[in-house]
Symmetry: C2
Subunit: 275 residues, 2 copies
């Protein structure tokens, strides 16, 4: 999905919500444990209940890898179940040198090689340009680079500062030279409300993937106040707050209700920027 | 494997070589392509030919993930084939917030959950303490944190400097407070010869995992000159230089010869520090 198609979906569905499929078999309703694949059954019901309220799903690879082969197969099956007009993100936070980065890109972008073809993958910047550019070599795919993350200890290194600014700002400034906003997004945590203003000065056009709304305490209003641009420019993720909203047979309805609340707030915010 | 057991293996085998199983199906001898699982057949022969010359194998997860389910199964089968007295490293460079980091740790440390139990996993520091500590919560397992990597663009961010030193030095200084040298190692590229001197000032006792000897141009002599400590303190990796030394039916012998050359140089270096 390219940038214009993504913007079109946001306009059409009046939402910029991403639902995070961080599905932990220990947290899903117990009645699903009788299913042949409880996690897949859970994901399918969540997708059925929310796909008209979101424009993206984000699959957190850790939650699937931790279950080995079975988990990896569930990740593939979940990805294949997501409707084609929805943006898909492998939240994998990979990062390694050139030839290895190409292999990671194949894992998430090349269906023939790996069985999976996401629209986007999250990438860590620590190893620099040659760990990111191999992902950018894939046409019609997106790289979402970690900039300022939502977790408390994100500040340990991301807020190290010198005369060129904070580390996270230098990540954005350098990465802006590696690709355009047609192919590159940044991760900025919703818990970093005020930083969005500074980030929009150096990345006015880029889409930002924003985790941390909901369970992690970030404010959607603040994110919108400082982060929205003329094309929306935000994909705001909620995982636990939506998918674990209910714990019984009605969990999918409960998830829908939570997603709907966020979508309605997003529709109001979008009313400020779209006709 | 704990620190003393690792040192004992180094003393016994007179080597601190790690062989990197970065096995690319497009680079292995063509006669193996008739095998049911060419990559596994290749890895087994490499392990058979080199296991007395090295103390560790490093499996680069990207090379397996890029082949989907089949690749993941090959990673499991390869790990299970490695003799028990050899240190095993999942070179996965993972890094994510707390609950997700725990899942990644399970993927590589918890055989019951994932089918794999490596001794160590490589972890990226960008997201700070709470992305690293969940790995350290696993008893008798090692976290190997990226500090100063071997690739050219490692300098993009790792050499950002302020009054507290370079970013990579601040990573080491902070991480030293999260765990001891019994559980934590650092990745330092062999291409960074002189930096070993500075790193030994802030991490005198830690083992360092050193990629970049061989194909990437790092000098083993320089690494030893500045990096060896009284317990050895180094695990030096070579991947392509060993595993692709030959391209025909004798590839395993060719790999052995390359590993032997490195082992012999290491034996001389160890003579300087061990009785």
């Amino acid at each position: 999905m390219n940038r214009q198609q993504l913007i079109d979906q946001i306009r059409l569905k009046k939402t910029f919500l991403c639902v995070g499929l961080d599905t932990d078999i220990n947290k899903i309703p117990t009645h699903l444990l009788n299913q042949p694949n409880p996690v897949l059954a859970f994901n399918k019901q969540i997708i059925d209940a929310t796909h008209d309220l979101c424009i993206a799903y984000k699959i957190n690879t850790a939650f699937y890898e931790c279950r080995g082969i079975k988990g990896w197969q569930t990740m593939i099956d979940t990805l294949n179940y997501i409707p084609k007009n929805i943006f898909t993100i492998a939240d994998a936070k990979r990062g390694d040198i050139g030839n290895t980065a190409t292999m990671y890109a194949q894992a998430f972008f090349d269906k023939q090689a790996s069985g999976m073809s996401f629209d986007a993958v999250t990438v860590a910047p620590y190893m620099g340009a040659d760990s990111v550019k191999p992902f950018l070599a894939f046409a019609n795919k997106w790289t979402i680079l970690l900039a300022l993350t939502s977790n408390e200890s994100g500040k340990n290194f991301q807020l190290i500062k010198n005369e060129d600014g904070f580390l996270y700002q230098q990540v954005i400034t350098q990465a802006n030279q590696w690709a355009t906003a047609e192919q590159l997004m940044y991760v900025v945590g919703a818990t970093r409300g005020q930083a969005f203003e500074a980030i929009r000065k150096i990345a006015p056009h880029h889409f930002l993937l924003v985790p941390g709304v909901g369970e992690q305490g970030g404010s959607l209003a603040d994110v919108c106040k400082y982060g929205l641009n003329a094309d929306c420019g935000l994909i705001v993720n909620s995982s636990r707050g939506i998918i674990y909203a209910g714990a019984d047979e009605n969990f999918a309805n409960a998830a829908r209700n939570e997603a709907l609340k966020i979508q309605q707030q997003m529709e109001r915010e979008l009313g400020r920027i779209f006709d």
